[in-house]
Amino acid sequence: MSQTISPTNPTPAPPPDALSTTVIEPRVGWQPIDLREIWHYRDLLFFLAWRDIKVRYKQTSLGAAWAVLQPLMTMVVFTIVFGKFAKMNTSPVIIFCAAVPWTLFASALSNAGNSLISNQNLISKVYFPRLIIPIASILSALVDFAIAFAVLLVMMGCYRIVPGWSVVLLPVFILLVLMSAMAVGLWLSALNVEYRDIRYIIPFLTQLWVFASPVGYKSSEVPEQWRTLYGLNPMAGVIEGFRWAMLGEVAPSFAMMGVSTAMIVVLLIGGLFYFRRMEKTFADLI
């Protein structure tokens, strides 16, 4: 009989005093960001990121090769365009060293931007803090990054480049890449729920953005007086910082780095609040 396969020792309902109380009410206006709740759901965060990684590697026949191919192709094309045609002072390793964090940014951004739409079945059926979804999708881009990073190390070995002391700042710059992706990704994902145009804007956006960032060239190609303003592109400071951490060379301008970092923080806080504000409409709109 089927009924006999019930749990061996069902846990009885706990005493009422131990119960937490949830109040459901319409919320109006801006909401605070509940970090404690997100921490409480950390297992879900982990499983969602893990699912995205697993499915990606199961479904693509080239699997991990894609993680290397993308920045590698960027390197080849940009070496030809910026190095040979535009005759800029650049080299494959300089470009690849920027293409690796750039690919992390671009894929994390596009993952995050489409994350709510691709998880709509979850949003319309289960409650959990919605921020988990874009965060998990950003984290899942880290695996590809790790593979590409290993290739970068090999390449640096071939060029006999040994990173200087600045390499200790590398984790900071990786964190900044993730924060930039999240800063922009949160806006895009929330907007994507209401305006499906966003899905088509994302690839277009990253395509143009790569030229506005110091990937194929160094930011020293930008005229001195514009360099601080150039920092308004958050990726400008981040990529130069990453390159500096890995290859040493000359430290990027602190003004530009400062502007980029400030920009990331502003966009990120704005994005978090905007996301929280729109969150309650997701299930109805999606």
Binding site: A13, D17, E25, L48, N121, V126
Partner: protein, 422 residues
């Protein structure tokens, strides 16, 4: 000590259907922002009117009820009565427009079996993923893993991707995860409507266990028989308003006899594809969802509307008894394999069939437009309630419309022979 598990006070939920139907494009928003000053001026110039927007729908209207700890509450009501919305609000998926709900205890909501299951992942991986989605901690899943797999009876295939599972195995595994969730309050929607008889029985058994452990359960189903068996008290929803009953049998009776509010059949359309729109559905010439038939047994369903692109569709009608259990199935597309082509433009589909002798009572028609086995264009569940005066012969006919044979009786309960031989 407080023995209230859920307190719902004056909860309302408003949907703007017009705005919801299609996603806004950025262009439209831009235009409306540009024309906003103009609109603002118009609004200011016009005296404020309390006229409701025709595209607004109050899915829930001032719903209040209380659930005591350990109660098993059945929520009943026809399609569009607001059951799903109520569950979504209780499960915190969507926010109420007005009102307040306080819930004492951890809530587990089961609005669907297998939420988040990914076909590419193995059974084992999906158990962890789905468990986390339902709110279980990793350690909790690990400790219950063997139990879950045993309950689902999929031990041999636990490392196979679930896309290779039979639908039965898939459902069993999905339900097994959900069944091992141990919240103080469980919210369940229609899960029992899926799977084979054996599986449904198992689900019911599990639900019974949950109820026995003194947990609070909220259960939504069209299956009144299941509701009556499982629940202690009930809440009946009618067009967004709720009446609660201490005894489930009172709720079910009032639902069966009540149906006091009549409406248009179209209001029961609960799923429609973008490719078609339906303007009218009539049964025996009436668009009312209440249909007293006396002893008339020929049914003519007519659907008119527009198809926006060329497609193949045929009507499908199911006959359900008053408890929501299926009795019969009329689907010319299934029987003949011929599904008419419809060119873009207006259409009118008229199909007639004959019912067998019906016992006295209430029956429902589910009306669908489908390409059988491939696609559902429109679905209207419990669209019409038919009342038969009939002769009180047998209580349960089970029949099927078979090619060339008309309605075939699959079985009857042999009783009341005297009346039958009369």
């Amino acid at each position: 000590m407080n023995d209230t598990a859920i307190q719902v006070e004056g909860v309302s939920k408003l949907y703007h259907i017009g705005a919801n139907k299609t996603y806004k494009t950025a262009r439209e928003s831009l235009m409306s922002a540009l024309s906003a000053p103009l609109r603002l001026a118009k609004q200011l110039a016009r005296p404020k009117s309390e006229e409701p927007d025709p595209t607004d729908l109050w899915a829930l209207k001032d719903v209040s009820f209380e659930v005591k700890r350990g109660e098993v509450v059945g929520i009943i009501g026809r399609n569009g009565a607001g059951k799903s919305t109520l569950l979504k609000v209780l499960a915190r998926i969507t926010e109420p427009t007005k009102g307040r709900i306080s819930i004492h205890g951890r809530v587990g909501s089961l609005l669907e079996v297998g939420t988040g299951f990914h076909p590419e992942l193995s059974g084992r991986e999906n158990v962890f993923l789905n468990g986390a989605i339902l709110g279980m901690r990793r350690a909790e899943i690990i400790s219950k893993f063997d139990e879950i797999v045993a309950f689902a009876e999929v031990e041999k295939f636990i490392d196979t991707p679930v896309k290779h599972y039979s639908s039965g195995m898939y459902m069993r595994l999905a339900f097994a995860v959900a069944a091992h969730l141990e919240p103080e309050i469980l919210i369940v929607d229609e899960v029992l409507a899926v799977g084979d008889m054996e599986f449904q029985k198992k689900c019911m058994g599990k639900m019974n266990d949950v109820a026995q452990q003194g947990r609070t359960v909220l259960f939504v189903s069209h299956n009144l028989a299941a509701i009556r068996q499982l629940c202690t008290s009930g809440v009946m929803l009618q067009r967004g308003r709720a009446v609660s009953y201490d005894k489930i049998s009172n709720a079910v009776d009032s639902y069966i006899n009540g149906g006091t509010e009549h409406g248009n059949i179209l209001t029961h359309v609960n799923r429609i594809d973008k490719a078609i729109s339906v303007t009218e559905i009539t049964v025996n010439g009436s668009s009312n969802d209440e249909l007293p038939l006396g002893d008339v047994r020929s049914i003519t369903v007519e659907i008119s509307g527009t198809v926006h692109e060329q497609l193949q569709m045929e009507m499908e009608v199911r006959v359900m008894d008053m408890y929501g259990l299926p009795l019969g199935f009329f689907s010319p597309g299934h029987l003949t394999g011929i599904v008419p082509q419809h060119k873009a433009g207006d259409f009118k589909l008229t199909r007639s069939f004959q019912l067998p002798p019906m016992s006295r009572g209430y029956y429902y028609l589910n009306i669908h437009l489908t390409h059988p086995g491939l696609h559902v264009w429109m679905e209207a569940q419990q669209a019409v309630r038919m009342t038969f005066e009939g002769t009180p012969t047998a209580t349960g006919h089970v029949f099927e419309y078979a090619k060339g044979a008309g309605w075939v009786l699959l079985g009857t309960e042999p009783q009341n022979k005297a009346a039958a031989s009369k």
